[in-house]
Symmetry: C2
Subunit: 210 residues, 2 copies
């Protein structure tokens, strides 16, 4: 599945140019419609989506054979796979920056409200959760996992490490703040706690303790 | 808020002895009713709860001034604050056992379905999330945080560590499996991944790398 280009954040404003819409526009219209429903806490049904997006039922099903994959794609609107990390500088800084940002936990193109909706929908529907994992989350992990693998190559990190397990450990503490503690991403104390936990994990990953 | 004693897991079977019910029985009836609604994916409203539990609206409000605190209490039915960990043996084993169990991720008195419902409700309602955190989750962290503090005391773990931050790091990776990856608690591979991540974190916590 390809990741859709960014579209409007609300379903209300749907672009309509003159003449027959281009195929990408239809994709955008459908996803924007789905996102509007999600943001309002409504269920995403084909009927609602036809009403909201102005796109026909047949056109919707031609693009997304199930509502599950459509909702997974809509939840990812505005998010992209981040670029690969620079591997020649300070690896620790690069990984931390990619993971929690510079001053507060920030995820480009992703509001806190959208994050909470995504988790809510995922916990209500494991099929959606797995689809979203496979098509979106697991792909976004790539650059950071490759950076960790490069650190192992370069002898900075321990050779027996599994990059995916390291990622889970580093990202887990961030999710814990938002999903369990109910903290806000913008809270500097939360960012600091993540950074402190990150330092512990990084120390455990280093080939030699410093 | 006190933690209620374990009651039946479904709201359908409500105990009714002869004569006036004891106060604790009323608590149980109300909580069992709320839990039945939660397990069925229904909203917990006073009206529904009166119907389900057979307890009067006034009696419900006397015990729980808000539905938020009532739902938080219901989500915790069957769960208790775990006992303090033995601090004289192998600390690493004790902490790991308390965190992820012996062979698969197991949380006593807590089904996977209940876990998913809890996260779903928390993400839909930050007030509930904060209430549940304050009254239940944060209290259950106590024994493990005290064990980490004891490890610092004994010079096993680094003196500058904050036990709460360590807890977040260790527990975060477990939540990541269930909330992001959508794994099942019973999967041995998931338990192994948590253990591997735990080993990395523990190494980062040790006063001296081994």
């Amino acid at each position: 599945m390809s990741i859709a280009p960014p579209v409007e954040q609300t379903g209300a404003a749907v672009r309509r140019g003159p003449g027959r819409p281009r195929v990408e526009d239809l994709d955008d219209q459908i996803l924007a419609g789905a996102l509007g429903l999600i943001d309002e806490g409504e269920s995403v049904t084909v009927r609602q989506l036809v009403h909201r997006s102005g796109v026909s039922r047949a056109a919707i099903y031609r693009r997304w054979p199930s509502m599950t994959t459509l909702v997974a794609a809509a939840l990812d609107v505005g998010r992209t796979v981040p670029p690969d990390l620079p591997l020649d500088g300070d690896l620790r800084e690069a990984v931390m920056g990619a993971l929690i940002g510079g001053q507060s936990i920030s995820v480009v193109g992703y509001s806190e409200e959208r994050f909470r909706q995504r988790i809510r929908l995922a916990m209500a529907d494991r099929e959606l959760q797995k689809a979203y994992w496979a098509s979106h989350v697991s792909r976004r992990r790539g650059p950071l996992e490759r950076a960790i693998a490069a650190g192992i190559e370069r002898g900075i990190l321990r050779p027996e490490l599994d990059p995916a397990t390291c990622f889970d450990l580093l990202a887990g503490v961030v999710y814990y703040q938002l999903v369990v503690r109910g903290e806000e991403m913008s809270d500097p104390a939360v960012w600091q706690r993540c950074q402190d936990a990150f330092d512990i994990a990084w120390r455990g990953m280093l080939a030699e303790a410093d």
